[in-house]
Symmetry: C2
Subunit: 190 residues, 2 copies
DNA sequence: CTACAAATCGAACAAAGTGTTCATTATCGA
DNA sequence: TCGATAATGAACACTTTGTTCGATTTGTAG
């Protein structure tokens, strides 16, 4: 098939561009990175870049939205209530070079947005299920945003400070903080 | 004094520029706003703009960092532990036109960063005071970031959704969620 | 091996925006 | 009215953007 051939070549080009952008984000501010920088680093022709992406922003988001979605899905592959936060902390530590680049640049915002959306959706569904017939005294979107907001802020803080404690400790701290809130707010045990 | 005269003129010019930027942010994406747009709207000469600010970013941050600091200070003028969140919700609602512009643009990030720094610092100091000699089972920075992260996320969510509940209700929800956490985590009563 | 189609290359281009310079004009206090 | 300071805006060199297009490379089907 022709598809195979085209796809492989194109895919490799996209990979080169993504890698180049990531490398550059480790070196300098995202806003000051030009398309020229990226294609120089990636050894890719100017017109090729624009054949694949609309602009620099497009390269950033199209790649990293996927990462965010992926994170959201991984986080939910088990039936946890309050999702497996430990996994996320661990995954973040293992790939912290990637995430440092994202924190430095503004890529992290894109990922977090996609991640947050997933977390909120799943969390709301699970809480609703757990509640059953009872209604929540606090609107569920408020509860879910409260939880994901706190979680992502801690995750970012942890990264910014070069992960001063282990993922296991972070997870324990987070759960210690969030559990009583949910229990008392929704009268749910878990 | 000459200062008075200069200051007044300069100040007025800066005001014009800030207002123009705010208006423009209501109309279109921050990144697509040019310096030309701003000075046209403000009826200010090009060179005047650059006499006051380094670039567009500088205009944004120098003005809005102040807003963030101001918010942080206002929030602490009473001796609350867990700062007067209600006031912040109310203030946000009263000035929601301003904040909508900021949410739409990316100005909100700048403000939140400055605001968050203040909240964290004050919160940590107060919690430490409240703890006295006892040491916290959870590192205080983690507690404070947990709280401010959750708070700012809820504040943003509330704005994004056009403030579907009253400031009083938001405040009550937030406190209901966060109070048990802190009590159980730090053994503090308040 | 050859032929072919798809992907890449890179030079050239117009367009837009940036930040600076400087001679000129407006403003306001003394 | 004078003088200092601020604002003006045209002109400038420079950077970046996104597009076009003919030449070139690459991988595969036959």
């Amino acid at each position: 098939m022709k598809n195979t051939k085209n796809d492989r070549r194109s895919q490799r080009t996209r990979q080169l561009l993504t890698t180049a952008l990531l490398e550059l984000m480790l070196e300098k501010n995202y806003d000051s990175i030009t398309v020229q920088d990226i294609i120089d680093r990636a050894n890719v022709g100017r017109s090729t870049f624009y054949a694949h992406y609309l602009d620099k922003e497009d390269l950033l988001t199209s790649q990293f939205e996927e990462v965010g979605r992926h994170l959201g899905e991984v986080a939910y592959q088990d039936g946890y209530i309050l999702f497996p936060t430990l996994k996320v902390f661990q995954h973040t530590q293992e790939n912290h070079h990637l995430y440092k680049a994202l924190v430095w640049g503004k890529g992290i915002e894109v990922i977090f947005k996609a991640f947050e959306a997933h977390l909120n959706a799943h969390l709301e569904a699970e809480l609703r299920h757990k509640l059953g017939e009872r209604s929540s005294p606090i609107p569920l979107p408020i509860v879910t945003h409260y939880i994901t907001g706190a979680f992502l802020t801690l995750l970012k803080w942890w990264l910014d400070n070069n992960m001063p404690v282990t993922p296991e400790k972070m997870d324990a701290y987070f759960r210690q903080l969030v559990t009583p809130s949910i229990q008392s707010a929704l009268n749910i045990e878990f």
